[in-house]
Symmetry: D2
Subunit: 399 residues, 4 copies
């Protein structure tokens, strides 16, 4: 029986050429699967048509924006998911969703192989392939860019050879991955770490130094989920979209970092994630009010590990799932409002209120109404410090 390759299809040159190329190399029919994750750009019907024009036997288009927001972005908010304390996992959380849709398409269309366009030195190949291994190990995996040492020049030559009906755009200097949760940009001149980013890198955010009047808003959460902005109910997707717009207008969410890739190298990355950063900032501020101290301290450790697991392509791994159970159990009372000001690249939280607050005015106040019994402190201090006191005494005596 003929092979059937299910290809993650973006509509760009590389994956377009991959359709006939994979067909030839694997003696296969190709099914193209394209997902709308809110990346904008071309409409999905055109993408679908191009896949067919390039020879795909099927071309599947899925609007996965809400699913992405609900099942991937929301858990990232609950986990305050930031790799290296900075990067909100923009591409990392989209890969497992794409895996799920490719596997589903393979089941529906009799796929024997799955294919993706990633290179062999990035993280995304790992995220795709471990995802396939975890969810559908019976499918064979092909990565033409890596496995056939595919390059852009080869792709163009092949496109001409097979007279592929695609316009050959001028090579963009940027390598871009984007979705509603954010946008990742790599480009040659950033490979010199001393070069600053240039303005033309950005698309989701305005120049912060040109930002308009400050924008104050209130984000309301219920059990860790953003449910309203300025009192208007929102879905998770709407929350991200509105904050992309409003925080983006203020130049918020630009990141320029040197990142530790899973494959062992450091790389320079520029990201834009205005909505993600705004939501996580608000969520953290609300947790500061609603999570008990020891739980909050431990959750920060769990968040770091969660972020590493997701970054490292282990979304479907057993540890990730148990970390999720921990995180989910912490969110019951993360309910309330955060008021914040967006301006000139910066988010300033300046108000919190919550019916689930752990802040106790009467214990905290230094004014009338103080109910804190200060006489308790002496005993606390003495026993809190006792083991250290004994150790320091020993250290002096032992010298």
């Amino acid at each position: 029986m003929k092979n059937r390759v299910v290809l993650a299809y973006s509509g760009g040159l590389d994956t377009s050429v991959a359709i006939p190329y994979l067909g030839k190399m694997l003696d296969a029919d190709v099914v193209a699967v394209s997902l709308d994750l809110g990346q904008g750009g071309e409409d999905m019907d055109s993408v679908r048509q191009r896949a067919l024009d390039c020879g795909a036997v099927e071309a599947v288009v899925v609007d996965a924006k809400d699913e992405f927001a609900e099942d991937y972005c929301l858990p990232t908010v609950k986990a305050n998911g930031m790799y290296m304390k900075q990067y909100p996992l923009v591409s990392a959380i989209s890969r497992p969703l794409i895996v799920n849709h490719l596997v589903q398409a393979a089941k529906e269309h009799g796929g024997t192989h799955v294919a993706h366009g990633c290179t062999g030195k990035g993280n995304d190949q790992v995220r795709f392939e471990v995802g396939f291994m975890d969810t559908a190990p019976e499918l064979e995996i092909v990565a033409p860019a890596r496995d056939y040492a595919w390059t852009r020049d080869k792709a163009i030559a092949f496109a001409e050879e097979v007279k592929l009906p695609i316009e050959q755009s001028e090579k963009s200097p940027f390598s871009i991955d984007q979705n509603v949760w954010g946008r990742a940009v790599e480009t040659g001149f950033l490979e010199d770490l001393w070069n600053p980013p240039t303005k033309d890198l950005y698309s989701y955010t305005e120049d912060p130094s040109l930002s308009a009047a400050p924008d104050e808003l209130i984000i309301s959460f219920e059990a860790g989920r953003p449910v309203a902005i300025d009192g208007r109910k929102v879905t998770m997707l709407q929350a991200i979209e509105e904050l992309n717009r409003r925080a983006g207008a203020q130049g918020i969410g630009r990141l320029d970092m040197v990142e530790d890739r899973l494959v062992g190298i450091k790389s320079r990355e520029v990201y834009e994630a205005p909505g993600a950063i705004a939501l996580i900032t608000a969520h953290e501020a609300l947790e500061d009010v609603t999570l008990e101290r020891e739980l909050a301290r431990y959750k920060r450790l769990v968040e770091a590990r969660w972020s590493e697991e997701v970054y490292d392509g282990l979304w479907f791994g057993p540890l990730k799932r148990s970390l999720d159970a921990f995180i989910e159990s912490t969110q019951e009372h993360v309910t309330g409002d955060i008021r914040m000001v967006l301006h000139a690249g910066k988010i300033t939280v300046n108000g919190r209120r919550s019916s689930h607050s752990l802040y106790d005015f009467n214990l905290a106040t230094y004014d009338t109404g103080d109910t804190f019994d200060q006489t308790l402190a002496k005993g606390f201090v003495q026993l809190h410090g006792l083991s250290s006191k004994i150790a320091n005494r020993r250290d002096r005596e032992a010298r």
Copy 2:
């Protein structure tokens, strides 16, 4: 023999009145110790004279600015010390230094007691007293505000009773602690978490929305220590002071947070720490370039624990010292330059260069010169994901 109390003396009303009050309550001579930690304000000679006027038998003044910068602020930079990921431990790191100077004064002046002005519901009492227990457990500790249920009204009444030669200023609505590393403000109306801070709270920073033209600068580090700004050599103290000035002018370093106190309550705190935030931001960016991935991941956990230990008053504790050993061992190669733009409340790192960099252009580049062998990736991905693959297969089969 008469008791002799060594008092941490700020020059303010409360500790001024404490001089005769402690003298009376403990039948004691009082030695006042005042430290210049870069808090600005009144000159130290006036402070000293006021202590004597209030009846101190000795009044010691110490310029501890450089010592504070070297021995307390620098380790905080190396540790990227931020409690709850936000607060650079402004007051927390000053307490152990004050403890050391009070203990030294007690040794020189025959002190039998040490006294501080903290209340019984804050963190600073713990930091002072555990510090005394650790370094000089033979000294008795007195905290009049807590142990004698001292209040401002009682202090004023007593001051009038004993005709203390101090002007009774109008009660400031603010409770302030400041030093060269930053400034902490508490005030009644912030005890409602929904109230935003007002402009008059701030002193180290300008309003970020009014900030001047962006200020680009280069901070150079050697082995984790800032050694130059824009090519000019600086001491640690000078680095903090210059960045307080330049980052402060851009409205950088304002923090408004709800904090988990060691004594078990949450409190609202406003901080300003422009120099601290600028230095730690630059230091983290340089570590991203110079620390290996696994070391960097683990160091972030160590940093969180270090910050908790210091926040919790355990500066002299054995765990803090061993965490220091870990941290110090990571700093050998944290050498290089960070270029960043300060503007409108925000720091943007936009360049890094280091002769100790772990960034390898030839491994990272997607252009000519790429030396990364992509054929290695397939095996890596398969074995990286193997244990998760087996677990997912088991999960499916076990259902």
Copy 3:
């Protein structure tokens, strides 16, 4: 209205005398609550009668053995709960159960106070009182031994004064706490750390050097719970009891340790916990077969923190509950059989089988049938070690 004190009543001298003593000191009626946690000894009816004879207005007796096994011992097995890697939390997990029953009795009998017999330098006061604060903060807490500086001599004198109808046994040299999960012994001569325990300390275990023929058995688990021994179905309570008997006969479960108490001191403790140690040993061995590597590595960290929280009296704390959520999520597949030999103080696991095993014979074998593709290893090794290789190269060059 008269006060009503609900007292944790053991039947011993101290708590017997506490009945009239608390009645007098607090002008209160006393309700005695006694729990059967499998501690053995006197029958509970006699205990109840003695409470009434001593003047209690009510005396409640509860058989809580099954509840203790199910709700406290089983979670400890799932958590492999061992404080300092050694102590299976014998007393620590009984306190929250006692708290719950005292609070329930207070609700049923109109209690205003709760009382326990612990001293002020142990852990159990903390576990009791934090438990009361967490679950019924409206109840006032009394600890006569601590709050009234109660001593045994005072207790005896008071007993004679009020002509209490109890025989005054000779003072035992041992201070003992025991339940079905284990037994804790403190005694004066062990306070010299160089003294070995004597044979008369032990009650749950035989001398291991005299143990009989080896006893081989099979413990079966389902989702982390022991469900059968040698093929016979058991409840959790029965599992503990049978293993107490069989492992105890082999001298298994004796612990002699120096322990870090929450109140800041170190203390010497001797424990016996044959059933607990046998169950946790078997459970860990089964987890080695059924938990994926990264999950298992992280769970060990979570276990250590869980044990500290429980030891530190924070059973009802928010962090403990979220750690439980993590742990529970790991147990789904901890199903299978562990065969082990009990002999001469030692447990030797020598067989495992599980329909949920992650052990894959075909991947592991070096014989015929090997399906492991060794060609994958080279790429794995190269990228696994790449970041370390780059760092070591930098280190050499930077010197």
Copy 4:
């Protein structure tokens, strides 16, 4: 120029055949390097001669026993290094030492390649190769068993073909790696996890059920290093050797475990490590007396990570070195004597004494001399539990 391969040479069939085989495959001279790590068996001169007989151009023999004990076993004691809480890293710590000696031989003898005999599914290939990458990346690595799909049958056939002067012993059913720190055994029938180990597996330990009279001994440590046994001074090597003998005679140190390999599979392993287990047990017991609580709690986390890094082949990695800095800083006061009884497979610590002890009799005792101020406890308990109390109150109200 001709290639020159430096081969880790054990003297066994596989590496003997590798000499001519590598010579042929790589057109190379072969330098054989053999290390005495206390593995016993054949004398090293015979090993050396066999290498030459097989065609090695050089055969280097190094007595590395003391170096191994000092630089690899001692750090493992200080780290209480146990992978999965059980395995004292017997093979894992020997690989970096062998790497160092191979690299040194390569420098002295002009080596261009290094070769080892490991397969592609074990951990040791990773430890060897990451070690080479870290210390001498210019050397090419060859692993004939993996890279040339070498099998025993092929080896024997080739040995006959080239008339290799070695006796072809009957194939042992065991695959063994041993050194003074312990012994690892794999064998076919253990690949069924339900099969118990058989008696003929063991060599370093007697059958515990047949063990002689209990053996009581005292191990003395200075700063974490064992320095005397029963009062007689010992080097680190002597300490291991004596305890191998005495603990081995009591059947101590047998391990039967299912292990998580770095390459993603689980495997069944049987180990013997009587000296290692005895030393680590004693060291832990002494740390219980001499390390402060918070330091001890954190050190246990560091130990787990250290063990994982070493197991995973990252001995030369930057994280391992910084963990060493932490651990080393904890050992200053780990000085004192541990008395323990070895018997029937079990170690029982029954006495500790230390001039650096943190145990304070006067604080711990319940008898005359008690200096613990119990009135401090109430305040401690209240503030220790306050954040949990507030959280529980919120939970009730929020429902």
